[in-house]
Amino acid sequence: MSDITITIDGRTVQTQEGEYILNAARANGIFIPAICYLTRCSPTLACRICLVEADGKQVYACNAKAKEGMNITTTTPNIEAERRAIMEVYDVNHPLECGVCDQSGECELQNYTLEIGVDSQTYSIADTHKPAQDWGFIHYDPALCIMCERCITVCKDMIGDAALSTVARGSEGIDAAFKESMPKDAYAMWNKLNKSLIAPNGGDTLDCTDCGECSAVCPVGALVSSDYQYTSNAWEHKQIPATCAHCSAGCQLSYDIKHTSIADTDEKIYRVKNEWNYVSLCGAGRYGYDFENRVAAKDVHAFDAAVAAFKKADTIAFTSTITNEEALILQKLKEKYGYRLINEEARVFKNFLASYASISGKSLYGGDLKQVHEADFVVSIGSALKTDNPNARFAMNNALSMNKGAGLYFHPILDPVIQEMSKNVTQIAHAPMMEEAALYLMLDLFGDKASMPSDIVSYLAGFHSTKTVTVDEMVDEKVTETVVKKVLNEETGIEEEVSEEVTKTVKKKVSKEVEIDDNALFALLNAGDKFAETLEKYLAKKETFALMVGPDLYTHTNSANCARLVALIEKYTPFSVTMIPNLSNTLGVAMICDLDSERGSYCVGYNVAGDFTLSALGNGDLDMPALNQQEGTLTGIDKRVNPTNAALSYGGYVLNDIANALGLNTKYTVEYTKQLPASAGFKALEFDALPNYYTNSGEEVRGYVMENVAVPTSGDEKVAAFDARSAMAGSLVYLANPVLQFSAFTARAHQLQRSGGVYVSKGYMEANGLGEGERVRVKTARGELVVNVICDGKIDGDIAYLPTFDTQINSEALFDGYRFTSVSIQKV
């Protein structure tokens, strides 16, 4: 895309070739009214209010692309008349319940009605009865709906559930007289509006991953959170800018807080809001906000016990749901007292990064989710994308739907959500332990063979053979026939039979033997017979490639080899590589802490069970603040150090108090922000200097992006071959969380309180005669659990999974590092 110059209302504006006029105007602070357009999604053309005049022609700013030298006028008398008529139409029969509507003034209908100055009504139509509907997390009031279809658009183009669509409104026709009398675009918009309403594809209930983004983008109060309904007015909230604490996406959000009630003046989080034009939240982020650990006062005895425990301990075990600053405190304690730091999932990720660096020469992967959004060919390997990092899934879906992209999803568990993203996505349900084969396939398909190490090229060549296949073809064949005709002999007047030769062209099916290239990797990955053809179709006209790799690779037995393969892919293929860290701050912990693998004799656990337990879950020996009660930074998947603020007060002790008692001397935890190790790519910036916002052009101004530090390499690019015999088969179980859950913290939120179990697909349940809620014994080589069976409609296939969010179920104990293991599931 090249830079071009256009003129909007006499102002010269720089933008890119192919950018929509609306986005160019917004990026430069020029106001063009628009209701139905969502940045990053396709133009809907429902509201038609973004009409502008470009080079003398009326166009829709959301849909018309800027061209060099274009001269744009945002208002003309005709456009003003259209806009006025459009807003009048929107106001026809709109219930006057603004006083109680949950949008409470944050209403685009209200704003534009006032902006355009609608002070009288010209149009009318008989109203229809449209009762409100409850869709679980979401409440839909069709009477308030203005049919901008933003919910449908975001669900399809960004989220990928495509769970909403339009249904017939059942309204009377518009009075024919209006067609003549009203402005053209306003009539067309009304005509469309009058035909439809929003409805879930699944009938009465929403069948989706419950992200709630539809309610976030709704410009009016038609789609609202059922839980929030009528509890508060928008203006009463103080908005605390923060970073979502649940997964590694590190989405920006704001906690809306207010006093709990008249009787209880403690602050409470009422809801979460997001900048939906630039960042989309998943359901865990949106509904899992009240995971705080309410502690009113300091418990001196518990604190003394904690300090004593630290003095006694030789090990600190912790999870990655902590801030960078806390991780640094732990590291400093390690340096001072020689503690062993135990955090297994961060340790495997750190090792993975180290192995990756041994070839790439960089401390961090090169890609981020922005590059995935912009790609037109996206591959995911080794991650249950929709639950490991929902934002990565949104990015993949967005790339597929907006860039006419195609995608491959390598994972043993089939995911209908991925399948429904696009018709140009193929899931390759390879056997567990075959992730290396998938990585080799990437090298084989996309690697620059000319520059790749020769041993890899020859290893890959070993998978190729030519095979002869029989292809049916239609061939034109000339057939000569002798036809006997009766011809009248004119001389004799008698009919005579004459033989005549006629040549005809006949289509004929012939079988032909053709030699084609046979890639044995396809079969090893269970890619299906037609995969070669599918791939060829997918790869037509593709320019930007993105690969996401996930936690299955980090926990893999040969994770070092996987990491080196990933580095080779980044080096020798056009793919950008993004790694999905396991938990909220796994990347930060991996970059800050030196982690150990073996526990010592006495262990202090932080959010994990230890001999002495510090816990933000309220079940430990000393309480700690949860991530919505702390300020600090979190390092997300985009390698960005994002600041988060304390939404709720916390009266107890924090980790810094313990560290101070142990001889570190810092007043506030956030004083560590500027001390984060520069050698790992952090910057020496004060916490208070970190910004946290998006600009009008969508630029993310949050914290800072970590420096990708150069790491010396030996130049050795050898990778080990994979062993196809290690492929796991039979009855298997996976370690993953269901949609809406990431950790014990999400399960603490009042809207997401669930108990876990063993999650199986519908097909598995039927095949094994299991019923929802039945107790089963899940037994692996390392132990057994008795849990409930839960049906997950969002997976397919025969692999069950166990969650980590439920503290009652110690799923990790059943696994030996790798996320898959053999299992027997029996009814009890």
Binding site: G99, S124, D127, Y230, I262
Partner: protein, 207 residues
């Protein structure tokens, strides 16, 4: 005619506007003090006042309002302690919980708790006004779209503490009083101005 006092010169002099009040010299010794006391005590000024009181008492024409027992009528625009009114026909609370009074309140003394009730309506579960903070400006009554919160005539709000509250139960018209027709319609701050119907623009209806 405009007259400006020559207050620029604040010194006491013949020219300035300030002058000494003719004050009797202060007694300087004990004897002088005794004389002053004796003169003031026996001059009989006391009985002038006592006579006025006695004269009025025996006239039996007293204008004093017997305050705690009787109260003066309050003008409709007087802004005393708030009331929450009910709808005449149904008896429902007029308050819809829109929160405008809470928002407009310049001394930030109104709070309300709302929820969704069984009929999917917004219900105000509790409402409080901190009268210690309230400056009785009347904005709440003026902004109320339902004429639900109004200023009543109850002006006594002495209390033992600076912060003291009225809650919903104190302010809401009890149902029995409503049925007895005791709820007074409020003509003061925020009430509909007579004749405002004429300024309403009509919207076309299709049926």
């Amino acid at each position: 005619m405009h007259h400006e006092e020559p207050f620029k010169d604040r010194n006491v002099s013949e020219q300035s506007a300030y002058y000494f009040v003719d004050i009797e010299a202060y007694p300087e010794n004990g004897w002088d003090k005794f004389k002053q006391v004796a003169r003031r005590t026996f001059s009989g000024e006391l009985f002038v006042g006592l006579w006025v009181v006695l004269r009025e008492m025996i006239k039996f024409d007293i204008h004093t309002v017997q305050y705690p027992k009787e109260k003066l009528p309050i003008g409709p625009r007087y802004r005393a302690v708030h009331k929450l009114l009910r709808l005449w026909e149904s008896g429902y609370e007029r308050c819809i919980g829109c929160g405008l009074c809470e928002k407009i309140c310049i001394s930030d003394c109104i709070r309300m708790d709302t929820r969704i009730d069984e009929n999917s309506r917004k219900e105000v579960t509790e409402y409080s006004i901190n009268l210690g903070r309230c400056i009785f400006c009347g904005y709440c009554a003026e902004v109320c779209p339902e004429l639900a919160i109004v200023h009543g005539p109850r002006f006594e709000n002495a209390s033992e503490q600076r912060a003291h509250f009225v809650i919903k139960d104190d302010m809401l018209t009890p149902l029995d009083l409503l049925k007895a027709g005791e709820q007074a319609e409020y003509p003061g701050f925020g009430a509909v101005i007579p004749g405002s119907d004429a300024s309403v623009k009509k919207t076309p209806l299709a049926y």
